[in-house]
Symmetry: C2
Subunit: 341 residues, 2 copies
């Protein structure tokens, strides 16, 4: 066991901070460290928090930290912003309110800047979660800035994902993006004291009942949602959670006043129990593990191929440029050359 690994597992916050930096920047030795600490991981409960900008995710996360701490649990937070190095900075500023936890040794907050590599951020986030897990955090919260495709990808590193929405955010229709119904384990309708909270609840219920991705105009619809081109104004009751199927509960909250936070925690706990206690929950866990391995194999393969092929890739580019070969055949030849090494 390396010195850094030993110190992380002993709960040394400076060691954890250094390890997270090393992992995020893929410094030499980061892989050995991750291998070393892996046996000590798997204890933390990992919660993903995602939703449109302005939905109040940071305030809600702040409240979740508060509650978990009140229950005696240590909390790690990883803030991920894949969209912009600039807003990354802005979020950090916005996050100043979280500094009230700064002197609490039971809270550990880190931001991950954009890497600009597809898939790279979710890998970094996953590895950083493992550091916080080995370090001894009981709960790790992974918070993203928006609900883009990359961000949904990142929340798949979590055991339970909380999707935060808010009614009355301007005139714009808030699109529920593809994949969100599959991603969301709990919906929080934040700022529930505002107009439109009830119709937001109804829209979500309907979307869940229909079991389909659709567009929800939070706080804008009048008892109906558009389902494809069809206006649906009946209101079926929400399907029940069963052994085989988890139905995301919808929880109202007002984070600024701390209302509804206990209900969110309770919903997350129920989801955790479902994952741990049912065959379907375990299957989902396994699926995510398979996704991770596939992702990491993909990255490792291209790194190995780039290393092994060296200037052959350069030559292929020149050949395609000169149109002496097509890019599809060139790719096949590069693959064959790599496999022949």
């Amino acid at each position: 066991m390396s010195d850094l690994g030993t110190r992380i597992e002993a709960g040394d916050p400076r060691a954890a901070a250094r390890a997270m930096r090393n992992v995020d920047d893929r410094m030499p030795g980061y892989l050995e460290l991750l291998k070393e600490i892996f046996p000590r991981t798997g204890r933390a409960f990992v919660v993903g928090v995602t939703g449109n900008p302005g939905a109040g995710k940071s305030t809600l996360t702040d409240r979740l930290i508060e509650r978990y701490r009140a229950g005696g649990r240590s909390v790690g937070v990883i803030c991920v912003d894949p969209s912009s190095p600039y807003t990354g900075g802005a979020i950090l500023g916005d996050r100043i309110r979280m500094t009230r936890h700064a002197t609490d040794p039971g809270v550990f907050i880190r931001s991950v800047a954009t890497r600009g590599h597809l898939g790279g951020l979710s890998r970094s986030a996953r590895d950083m979660v493992r550091v916080l897990d080995a370090y001894g955090c009981d709960v790790v919260i992974v918070e993203t800035v928006g609900v883009g495709q990359d961000e949904l990808e990142i929340t798949r590193t979590a055991h339970s994902t909380l999707v935060v929405m808010a009614p009355g955010m301007g005139d714009e229709v808030q699109a529920i993006k593809a994949g969100i119904l599959e991603t969301a384990d709990v919906f929080a309708v934040n700022k529930a004291d505002r107009d439109g909270a009830d119709s937001a609840m109804r829209d979500l219920e309907l979307m869940i009942a229909l079991g389909t991705e659709t567009m929800v105009a939070v706080g804008k619809t009048k008892g109906h949602v558009m389902h494809g081109a069809v206006k649906v104004d009946i209101l079926p009751s929400c399907p029940e959670t069963t052994e085989a199927r988890w139905t995301p509960p919808i929880v109202k909250c007002v984070s600024t006043r701390g209302e509804g936070i206990a209900d969110i925690l309770e919903a997350l706990d129920r989801h955790k129990a479902w994952i741990d206690g049912t065959e379907a929950g375990r299957a989902r866990r396994r699926l995510r593990l398979a996704e991770e391995l596939r992702e990491s194999l993909r990255e490792t393969l291209i790194e190995a191929a780039t290393g092994a092929l060296g200037r052959e890739i350069e030559r292929a580019v020149s050949d395609v440029e000169a149109k002496s070969i097509d890019p599809y055949t060139a790719t096949e030849q590069l693959l064959a050359a790599f496999r022949a090494r």
Copy 2:
């Protein structure tokens, strides 16, 4: 040469339509077809059109088609929506106004639905551009729905990318996302008859002059932009385009009235001349080709590895699940097993 390939090159629109479907769905034989037609590609000028929803991209695209047609050039359009199968449908509806080109044999419009695979859409888009290129389109427009990371990726398949913005789109600050300055070759400030158009121009000019990603509040700032945490209120003049450096021009337009469209075309033509006529332009073209090869090698590698390893990946997942191995070592072992085949 296959029958389909021959018919595409002879300009048979039904053959082109079928080929695009085959390529998008990766039907058997799609790769052979792409190899076959590749030597006939490289003649079309490929224009990417991107920008926030609501900026008026479809109307602008419609006007671009009109102008190009008036100049006697045939136009292909590929509409890509990576965000949602639902909005994919919505866009198609929204696109009905384009049907005025439906009876024009010189215009060919196709939509690409989401595939849910990272990287998959830009590959599809690139291949479909090649079909339209071989089919004989003089210009191919690739239009995306938003400006997410995936969508910027897609516009990198274009020779010239037009980023469309509009002032006064509600109260929200419009973030210029990371990568957009690198992506944009021409900026169009659409709806230029609205309040805030001038300050949008100023913001963009400043952003370009600073040569940095920043946040632009279109139509909201009063002669300054926030640069990081620093409020910048000086107004440097825009850098000039040189042999070595392309500076994206900013063009005002009102697409609904057809104003400024000629200026956009002129700016795009200048950019094309820069790409074709300068060392830096050719270097950029080469860089994008290298990116394509790397991307396609990455996909081909994981497909080959998944095929060759078969149930070994399944077993690795079980082992990691049982914690008898860590995922990092498991990945290395899978890589070694693949290379040993």
